[in-house]
């Protein structure tokens, strides 16, 4: 494992850009790439970050006080470090929760490491782990297409639309009504296949293959997008209405939610820092409200940090909004402010943004250089 300093010439395979309190490069906005490999998948937890490469390697950095990096517990890791313990298994993707990490390998195995106070590691107990442990429940019998880790919750979604969740259910954030914690994976079944899952800090949401949005968990501040009379059943997945077009993607933050339909981008919940993107007059909304600034754009991806939001358009441009502390919105080197509408990240005008991940106080962006001739065609509209 080595680190070299290079000139500012991002290779065609792209670079990873860090913003905010990433623990990397002393929290100064920075970029890095791999000499003989390329990024494939990224995820941010509250204070940690993982990068899965095209060769199936897992790189981690950030806080490791709970063993969430799978490198024994200890002080924060300030450089992307390869997790060797998985031996020859290739990692396909991973998801970081507040203080734990889930990953899925090419062999079809699911692993977890980190905090386990609410059974979020899925290992049948509540003892933390400081290296990746296989969740035996899955036992290579499911083909997983998405993982999501929340505050103390975990979810795995299969290619054929089966959803499993485990961990903290004290607010019904697993969509189950009985127990306060489930330390082994539970099937969440609403009678139709599911296509997208997101675990927030204390609430969760999924999208069905036919494009319906369901939310559950902590009911406060409108983050479930449900009318008041439905909030008493917050421990059950309930359908969110009032969205125009089929829902494609949902992401849950600390106190807010963002959902993308074929037509619009909707946000709801608390937006005291601007994370709803509804401007400087609306700081909370109980029901889904379309984000005006994004109406005319085609959105490929959205994701929430605890209190900020990031959006990628079909042109590969990145918009961010919400809490601007520590520079996590990627909008300035040293002067920051909260943003109440989506702001174009001009850092990436010469790049195609491939993916973005938001944590508690940081953001990671994977972007590839735009071919020279196409740079001229990019504008804000």
């Amino acid at each position: 494992m080595a680190t070299e300093e290079v000139e500012d010439q991002v290779p065609d395979s792209g670079a990873l850009f860090t913003f905010g309190k990433s623990k990397f490069a002393e929290n100064i906005p920075s970029k890095f790439w791999l000499k003989n490999d390329k990024p494939a998948h990224i995820s941010c937890g509250d204070e940690h970050t993982v990068l899965v490469t095209g060769n199936g390697k897992l790189y981690v950095f950030g806080s490791n006080n709970w063993g969430q990096l799978g490198l024994e517990a200890g002080s924060a890791i300030s450089k992307p470090t390869c997790v060797k313990a998985l031996k020859s298994e290739k990692v396909v993707f991973a998801s970081c929760g507040r203080n734990h990490t889930l990953l899925y390998t090419e062999q079809g195995k699911l692993y977890s490491s980190g905090g386990n106070s609410e059974g979020q590691l899925g290992l049948g107990d509540t003892s933390g782990r400081t290296s990746f442990q296989e969740i035996s429940f899955f036992n290579t019998q499911y083909k997983i297409k998405q993982l999501s880790a929340g505050s103390n919750t975990s979810a795995a979604l299969t290619v054929d639309g089966k959803l499993f969740m485990w961990g903290d259910n004290s607010e019904g954030q697993l969509g189950l009504e009985k127990e306060a914690i489930y330390s082994t994976p539970q099937k969440i079944d609403i009678g139709k296949p599911i296509s997208w899952i997101s675990c927030g800090y204390y609430h969760s949401a999924f999208v069905t293959q036919d494009g319906e949005l369901y939310t559950f968990g902590e009911p406060e501040n409108g983050k479930l997008g449900l009318p008041s009379d439905k909030l008493k059943k917050h421990k059950k997945p309930q359908r969110v209405s009032g969205l125009s077009g089929k829902v494609k993607i949902v992401s849950c933050g600390g106190e807010h939610t963002i959902a993308v339909t074929e037509k619009e981008v909707y946000t709801f919940g608390l937006g005291q820092f601007g994370q709803l993107g509804h401007g400087t007059f609306i700081f909370e909304t109980q029901l889904p409200k379309a984000v005006d600034v994004l109406t005319k754009k085609t959105i490929l991806y959205v994701t929430c940090g605890e209190n900020h939001t990031a959006v990628i358009t079909d042109k590969g441009l990145l918009y961010t909004f919400g809490d601007g502390r520590h520079g996590k919105l990627g909008l300035g080197e040293e002067n920051f402010t909260n943003q109440f509408v989506p702001i174009l990240c001009s850092n990436f005008l010469k790049f195609t943004v491939q993916s973005v991940a938001c944590g508690g106080c940081h953001m990671l962006v994977f972007a590839t250089p735009r071919p020279k001739e196409s740079e001229m065609m990019i504008n804000d509209e």
Partner: protein
């Protein structure tokens, strides 16, 4: 194939390339950071009842820094009862170089608490009403808040967070709200203070 290679022996492949910083890192003593965090207004204050006041921004003044750089870029709608308005506006002020002598002098005065005439000097924040109809109405000051920087030199912790009283513009005996601010300036404060003192002794 790659699978056949022992991962322990492939360290040479795992090289992370980090971009060199374009400009050399400046020492923390060459700058300070001021942050306007949030504002609350007393529900019974006159400004809360004043329908002409609809949006508010906050600014501070630092000698030698253009005033447009030290105001929150957004105006937020007047808070509802008890609501906190979060600006999280964070501004770095560079103090190094000959061109910034005025800033260093100002910081020295703030740390000393008075200017050469013995008049009190504190870091002044202003809460400003930003009318929605900018053609018909003008911005006007609503309240002032003052931060005393004298304790800065004695503080062990950097990033001093403080909740300042916001005083009514028309009557500075009246508290109309609270402004949360933070300042990171310990290293710069010590440097400026030491340099200034050394000159005075000469």
């Amino acid at each position: 194939t790659a699978d056949a290679i022992d991962p322990q022996s492939t360290d040479y492949k795992d090289i992370i390339l980090v971009v060199k910083p374009l400009v050399p890192e400046k020492p923390p003593s060459s700058m300070i950071r001021v942050e306007i965090m949030s504002l609350t207004l007393n529900p019974y204050s006159e400004v809360m009842g004043d329908s002409a006041v609809q949006r508010l921004f906050v600014e501070f003044r630092f000698a030698g820094v253009p005033p447009e750089e030290t105001e929150t870029p957004v105006s937020l709608r007047k808070p509802n009862q008890g609501e906190e308005l979060y600006y999280h506006f964070s501004k770095v002020i560079h103090l190094d170089g000959t061109e910034h002598a005025e800033r260093r002098d100002f910081l020295y005065m703030l740390l000393d608490g008075s200017d050469s005439n013995g008049d009190i000097v504190r870091l002044k924040f202003t809460v400003v009403s930003d009318p929605i109809n900018e053609d018909e109405e003008e911005c006007h000051d609503v309240g002032y808040a003052y931060m005393d920087l004298r304790p800065l030199l004695r503080r062990a912790e950097d990033k001093a967070e403080e909740t300042l009283q916001v005083l009514d513009v028309a009557d500075e005996e009246q508290v109309i709200g609270a402004l949360r601010v933070a300042i990171e300036a310990k290293d710069a404060a010590r440097t400026v203070h030491r340099t200034k003192r050394a000159k005075e002794i000469q």
